[in-house]
Symmetry: C2
Subunit: 347 residues, 2 copies
Amino acid sequence: MDAYNVEGDVDYDKLIKEFGASLIDDRLARKIGHPLVPELFFAHRDLDKIIEGKFAIVSGRGPSMKMHIGHLMLFRFIKFLQDKFGAFVFIPFSDDEKLLARGFSAEHVLKMDYENLLDIIAIGFDPRKTEIALDMVNMKQEVYNLAVEISARMTASTVRAAMGFTGETNIGLQFYPAMQAAHILYPTKSRGLPVLVPIGVDQDVFVKLTRDVAGKIGLKKPGDILSKFIPGLTGTKMSSSKPETSIFTTDTREEVKKKIWNAFTGGRDTAEEHRRLGGRTDVCVVCNYHRVFFQNHEIVRKCGAGEILCGESKRVLLEEVWEMLEKHQKEREKAKDRVKKFVPELA
Amino acid sequence: MDAYNVEGDVDYDKLIKEFGASLIDDRLARKIGHPLVPELFFAHRDLDKIIEGKFAIVSGRGPSMKMHIGHLMLFRFIKFLQDKFGAFVFIPFSDDEKLLARGFSAEHVLKMDYENLLDIIAIGFDPRKTEIALDMVNMKQEVYNLAVEISARMTASTVRAAMGFTGETNIGLQFYPAMQAAHILYPTKSRGLPVLVPIGVDQDVFVKLTRDVAGKIGLKKPGDILSKFIPGLTGTKMSSSKPETSIFTTDTREEVKKKIWNAFTGGRDTAEEHRRLGGRTDVCVVCNYHRVFFQNHEIVRKCGAGEILCGESKRVLLEEVWEMLEKHQKEREKAKDRVKKFVPELA
């Protein structure tokens, strides 16, 4: 597993040991007080210390495609932390990295920059406590300068080993870990705030590289809060680049319905068998969504007890998802008028 | 020889052959009509084609130290080309590269940015036809974006082979050829103008890499006009980082005098011998300055004929240099009020 290749099942306990991170215990979870902790965000580095004082959250967006509800959940969680702890939020868009790592055209990533920006503004971040910087639109001079300083302290060999790069990797991608680290350390450099990074375990290598380099340039090491992979509708990882795995924030009710109807479930071969044995809720994506995203444990219990069939479970999920999406889409429309508050260059 | 290590004598004919450049012939030299051509600027790629139409000149400044009179001569030459051909001039400051390649602190390069900027503004470039961009002060978004696009098309192996980098080279320096290429191609990308790069033969590798990548991103290949190494006062290469080799633009008359008095000459062991055999004007730095910078061929002839001694030659050079420097220093003072026209961020 590396930052650019994630497939298959993951042993989270093993990962945490390898990473040197800690599981989020009940006490810490209560302090955060959000339903996604520890259900989705299950581990951390220095989270306990960071939330004791003022801090910043850095959470980037790689605008290769439209945002899906997994992203939406993440940014809603960040908004919750902003509201609860008064955290400063910095949201860098790594449009450059999407071009470098995935070969997307500049035109494509700039279009997706705008689409993703609307979703993020729609979440309702406080403009006085939030900065959004798109590397290829409104790159911050301070971020670039920090990337230069950081890159002076990362050798090609170190980055290759950490990232699995080769001689055929382009020099932009080899430089990118310095940009990523600069994104993460920007609030520390510019505002003196310790940084918390909510991040998927598959992206942890960036935080590790950043922690290593922070000390070398006299900045406090960032902490992180690690999330499990977000389950995709088809049973594999949710991915913006595989439309059938994801519910996009702009999907219509009909599209959402179709995707949920085609989702991978733990239903038995026949209705009779399902009623007798109960659904396999542990492997069921629909149950997982009920549980992780909507904390609807009652419907999962009913499914496991054979009291309801997959159709019923899916109908409920559709309503849960659509209630959230419909509201989000209205806010997303209004966000068009608020772009100038965050990224005047795109207004 | 590579871009970061230049020592000893150079066989220019051999270099030109290796580089695939052409010598500047009499006809082309007359078209340019400047005394430094072909005395200092002796070779080129596509210069003849480029000056047939509208074009841009890109000439960077690496602000590691104060500027010396070699730099002054270069930028005066560029100003001449701007006046004569109406060329658009783009002057990128690679302060980032100085930090990456030479380990200077950000504070130091930002201070030198300002000092060098005054010298360049003092030359008298037309603000309507000139852009100055300091990578770490007023980085142009378009330049960064172009660097990203370019870096996607340069592999680590290619850059390593061209630049002599190893695994221990930092990733900033490995990325830098993309930034350099972006500087060079910026006027082509943003204004559709073919670019001419006046550059020392030791920096030619950057132009070669840029020519290679230009085609890949659908931009016209830049041409160049190549200069010989600028002779240093001590007989080695003039270098800002070895103060005794260079006359800085801010030196006092006394400092200039002292440096010229200590210069390496072709004087004979005794005055009698000098009068009898004549000075060795081919190896004499003072004669070289008379010839290349001030076109004072008469004094070189006199020295070679034994009609004058080194002292007299040095006295004349002092007057030549000081006449130019005194004027420049006055313009440099006035330049402080003109910074806002070029780089408002530093005004």
